[in-house]
């Protein structure tokens, strides 16, 4: 083994993981030059391990936390929907939206903001941020109460199941001031046995008013149920010009 080979093996020899160690050690025993080199290499390694551990400044971790917090917020705002209170002839509404369209419409329940926002978040299964309503949201609400109809391209119910979406889209075809039964929707969307499931889909409608689940009633014309109370359902239908003609 040549001296240069032995020198190159120094770090392997000291960690004892080199199969050629034995030959290198044998060489070292009789080579003063290599011994000196090994000693000096050890000196270098030792000097490096002696370098003091410098503590980071105390503000380092808080600063990193701040960066992370800012990133999280930015990330969140991309995921989250915006929500705003909008005044309407029916009282205050909560309207949530994202780039793809309006994702939630609900009637203010008079509870504190935190509770209502939490229930919207639960309904949408994602965080929402309370902001001021932009013009297009105000306009959408105003237009709805003027025409009782909505530009469906501005509403996003893509988070719902295909069945729920089909049921709601069918409900949206009921003309304002008229009602249809749960069974009618079930038949229309090709699931004649699923009247009860239609009822559940209406109950889970995240976009109240705009998807007019209030126009869907019992087979015998009874208003049946409404997320905000049957009286509110009756009131909306009355505002639309519905006159009960049934038995």
């Amino acid at each position: 083994m040549r001296c240069s080979d032995v020198e190159a093996l120094w770090d392997d020899v000291r960690t004892g993981q080199e199969p050629r160690s034995e030959r290198a050690v044998a060489h070292l025993r009789r080579c003063k030059d290599c011994q000196a080199v090994y000693e000096q290499y050890e000196g270098v390694a030792y000097c490096l391990t002696c370098l003091p551990i410098v503590e980071p400044p105390v503000h380092l971790v808080p600063r990193i936390y701040d960066h992370i917090k800012a990133l999280r917020n930015r990330y969140r705002s991309k995921l989250s929907d915006s929500v705003a209170r909008v005044e309407s002839p029916l009282g205050t509404l909560w309207v949530a939206w994202r780039d793809s369209g309006i994702t939630f419409v609900g009637i203010d329940r008079g509870e504190d903001e935190e509770t209502q926002v939490a229930s919207i978040e639960r309904r949408l299964s994602r965080p929402v941020r309370v902001v001021q309503a932009p013009d297009w949201i105000q306009t959408a609400v105003r237009d709805f109460f003027a025409t009782w109809q909505v530009d469906m391209s501005r509403v996003d119910i893509s988070g719902l199941s295909p069945f729920e979406q089909a049921a709601l889209r069918k409900a949206a075809q009921i003309p304002p001031g008229e009602v249809r039964s749960y069974g009618w929707i079930a038949r229309e969307i090709g699931h004649p046995q699923a009247a009860r499931a239609v009822g559940q889909a209406m109950a889970r409608n995240p976009v109240a008013l705009f998807f007019p689940c209030h126009r869907v009633v019992d087979a015998n014309g009874a208003l049946h149920n409404y997320g905000y109370g049957v009286e509110v359902k009756a009131r909306i239908l009355a505002m639309e010009g519905y006159v009960k003609t049934g038995r």
Partner: protein, 202 residues
């Protein structure tokens, strides 16, 4: 994911939700590493901040499978190294180390005839400032190898993973770094150490 149970305890899968824990665990180590690599506290501080931000972003884009397979420590070293390289490249285009990268022999000759004579090393004993400076005189790739090996105490395979280099290259860089450091610090470096205390293998 838990199908093939291993005898070792499974470490927590890194995630952005619990990223603060990662910061707490590694900030000292990465700061120390960046400081040795740059020799500058402000740089080290900025590098560590950038590195954690990059790590956070990267982690946020990974699938759960990728995260569970991630080897956190080498990965963080790699990110820190990349940030360090970028920073040194943009900040000091005429860095000593970069000059010597172009002509390592010039570095050796310079330091032999330079102000730091071997006697001074002996006189000042373990003058650690000299060691710090010597390390900073190394070309970047050799400084990386030496710092990871002797200051961070990483094994050859670990360094190979961090630097994404073959083990042979790592060993060769470590050896070249030590050879140059020996020349810079002078032949008496061994004697200084011997007078102090026995050498502990890293």
């Amino acid at each position: 994911m838990t199908a093939n149970a291993s005898p070792q305890r499974s470490p927590e899968v890194p995630s952005v939700d619990r990223f603060e824990r990662i910061v707490d665990e590694f900030q000292r180590r990465l700061y120390g590493f960046a400081l040795r690599m740059t020799g500058n506290r402000e740089d080290a501080e900025e590098i560590v901040q950038d590195a954690f931000v990059r790590a956070f972003r990267a982690l946020g884009k990974m699938s759960p499978e990728q995260r569970s397979e991630l080897r956190l420590q080498p990965w963080l070293y790699t990110i820190t190294l990349n940030v360090t390289r970028n920073r040194l490249r943009s900040k000091r285009p005429t860095n000593v180390a970069l000059d010597s990268l172009a002509d390592p022999d010039a570095l050796l000759n310079n330091t032999q005839e330079g102000p730091e004579q071997p006697e001074q090393v002996v006189e000042r004993g373990t003058d650690l400032e000299l060691v710090e400076k010597a390390l900073l005189q190394l070309p970047m790739h050799l400084r990386e190898a030496a710092t990871l090996r002797f200051i961070e105490g990483r094994s050859h395979p670990e360094i190979a993973e961090i630097l994404d280099q073959p083990i042979g290259t790592v060993k060769s860089h470590v050896h070249r770094a030590v050879r140059i450091l020996r020349r810079i610090l002078g032949p008496e470096v061994g004697r200084v150490v011997k007078a102090e205390e026995p050498i502990n293998a890293v």
